[in-house]
Symmetry: C4
Subunit: 257 residues, 4 copies
Amino acid sequence: MNPPPATDPLLTDPPSGGPLEPERLADLAAASRILAAQGVVDAFGHVSMRHPTAPDRYLMARSLAPALVEPQDILEYDLDSRPCSPAGRKSFLERFIHGELYKARPDVMAVVHSHSPSVVPFGLVRLRLQAMFHNAAFLADGVPVFDIRDRFGATDLLVSDGPKGQALAQTLGLRQVALMRAHGSVAVGPSLEVAVFRAVYTEVNARIQHWAHALAAGEPLAALDADEGERADVVNQGAGMRAWDLWRAQARAANGW
Amino acid sequence: MNPPPATDPLLTDPPSGGPLEPERLADLAAASRILAAQGVVDAFGHVSMRHPTAPDRYLMARSLAPALVEPQDILEYDLDSRPCSPAGRKSFLERFIHGELYKARPDVMAVVHSHSPSVVPFGLVRLRLQAMFHNAAFLADGVPVFDIRDRFGATDLLVSDGPKGQALAQTLGLRQVALMRAHGSVAVGPSLEVAVFRAVYTEVNARIQHWAHALAAGEPLAALDADEGERADVVNQGAGMRAWDLWRAQARAANGW
Amino acid sequence: MNPPPATDPLLTDPPSGGPLEPERLADLAAASRILAAQGVVDAFGHVSMRHPTAPDRYLMARSLAPALVEPQDILEYDLDSRPCSPAGRKSFLERFIHGELYKARPDVMAVVHSHSPSVVPFGLVRLRLQAMFHNAAFLADGVPVFDIRDRFGATDLLVSDGPKGQALAQTLGLRQVALMRAHGSVAVGPSLEVAVFRAVYTEVNARIQHWAHALAAGEPLAALDADEGERADVVNQGAGMRAWDLWRAQARAANGW
Amino acid sequence: MNPPPATDPLLTDPPSGGPLEPERLADLAAASRILAAQGVVDAFGHVSMRHPTAPDRYLMARSLAPALVEPQDILEYDLDSRPCSPAGRKSFLERFIHGELYKARPDVMAVVHSHSPSVVPFGLVRLRLQAMFHNAAFLADGVPVFDIRDRFGATDLLVSDGPKGQALAQTLGLRQVALMRAHGSVAVGPSLEVAVFRAVYTEVNARIQHWAHALAAGEPLAALDADEGERADVVNQGAGMRAWDLWRAQARAANGW
């Protein structure tokens, strides 16, 4: 596939940020399958990581159900979400979620987008998701809800271009998780492992909050406060690797890579 | 099995609409197993497709639990739901759901009937099922409830003849999903793949609405409106194939066909 | 193991009602594993069948987790729940549930006792279990609750002797399912296959009623009435075999018998 | 790894209480995997047992996801939670839960700490966990909630030193289960098998209470009273071995030990 003459940047595939270690590609593909195994994604949803040595590039699978992703399905994108070497492979319509979050948040090294079923309800009501236990400490500084309708009116709900991705990034601000009304959520982290951990425990936390809310009879829940959340999140970023190690081992056993 | 002399059409097996490609029969058998794997059907429920080249015929398994269906279990029916070549094989009592929906809705190419446990409750209460997220956009123009009691009084609840099937088709109207009081639901689509997608996401959506309702404290949910639903449904019919591709691959891995 | 001289019937093992076909023993062992696979029993619970040719005998596994039962674990009992040939094998403490129900109900050919988690709540509250859909038609004539405390004061909750079994049988009356407060439930049927079907769909129905109740905002549910229940139950006893055929095939695939 | 000169007890590894039978180490490793298989622990949580012949020592896996624990991962600790022979292996931050409970409760021979998702909500609300059925009789004398904030202010929620473990032990008192606000719970028992049983049925009971509470419309639940609880708990400690036998067999089949 020969690129056209490089006159219009929109017509030229952006250059790669450089080669990646095969083990990191395998980790990213495994992350897709881990999210499927944990019930965070079904046939839809995606996870990306920023290029380890080229911060203006990110890596994400071609348009494919997460449980089917193999290392060779991973494409490289620039932060405008143009694929570097598509070679005919189809990209996710919503890759702009990823590109725009990497632009807006230099600290973010990985992004998960999902429609996990316990989380979606919290985007449809006034009540907010709170941190129910220490594993979900990253939620303790608040979980905003992005309503695409506010800026873009009636849409197909998808974050399918740069401006919609930028609006979502504004709603997220400096937080780790944002919900998307009638759609799903995003979770970000300083590493692939932490972003996956946060996506999983956002879902677990939502299930816990459903039950807790039903028991509370309208009284406030004894959730983590912001101070407890900050302290517990520090520990989680270390101890959370125990979860990654388990999930990665399970993925390796299932897939051989 | 020699057919009787062709004097009474009710005594003669209707002729076939013509042969089908084996791959399509395998897809239909796989659809049964997909619906079982996704928790939409248990030992009961059925899926059919209109004959691709003979619109007055449809295809459906003999009376058998969906998880056990093989391609050779599939029978052909006319739209009065008479089997073309039963050869002693038993038909589902409720095949009239399928035949009458194909009569009433020329756009419908596939039908799923199920009793999925999250959906049944919405047929027992005044509250209506709504589209909670973009994947369930096909619900955004409303989900009617068919109460067999209204027209037929006390029954065994089954749609076991033409008139009951016609009454159900009237309740469905131009919509994609109808609930059946104290029984289950039907989902239809312009292809087998889309009908299966809709049956699965009707169940997922119901689970989400249960949770959302419990959190809403009586306030309306920020569900998809009809305009959003129409736009998102267009995208789903394309992107939804990602789900079919996943489920079909899983069925193929499990069954070898 | 030589029996003692037959002077005191309580000291003599009762004689067998005669040999059984190996296939029926395999079916009964499979029923145990089916109930475990369907989530009706965990490590506890048991299923029995009346002896096909000796109505004053019944068959049930020795004290063992249902998922581990093999055909050779099955013992024969008289209706006072004395084992015919224990040969050192331990009996379930609660076998009197079975013996006393067979005494009180000549129509009953099989009994399931379980603590399935969705059903237990309905034994702890004033609200009664109702038939939410046609598969659970056998619940439409009411589901009584047995509170052992009423007749026996503070106990360990177990139906561990004849009088307690008789009291439970009185509560059940002519119905098909009775709940046991703070304990579990029993389901009976005119065949092993129907009793297993009823135990499974009591659990499924309970899950549906939990959701339906939460949506109903205090209004009555559009459950099956007694007339609908009677009509649907007739069909279920035939069509329900489709479920048994599926579950038996799955058990055969897993166990080889 | 040569130990430093034994001048400061804090710098010297405590001596072992003596060798263990390999079968008991395998049981303890199996207990980890059983708790994972039963959904009581995910990547986090831990189980320990007191040394059978040295009551001032206990045994627990190194810091590792429970589903990955092998017999050789088990370390020995003194009751101040110092490892006897760490050999570079990392200990759980929260081992002080275990050490301090063994100090405070000579009757306790095993401890489980978990964050099982149905239980956490009861640590966040005023409503208390009650015994919903006979299998959970060990809850009938009450389930206290430990709020680390009461004594230690804002923390990372972890019981990561002796004083925090002692405070938890005071909250537990003579009971069998205590919840930990915004964190999880502990269950104890007179044997490994009983502690595992209690951890599993605390989770099952919590699920049942969620449903029962929703059905009760504010009326009290017909839970076990203290007298019933005491009687049923005696039976459970014997009959509960049926559960351990099942779970141990399943773990053996999966792991080969």
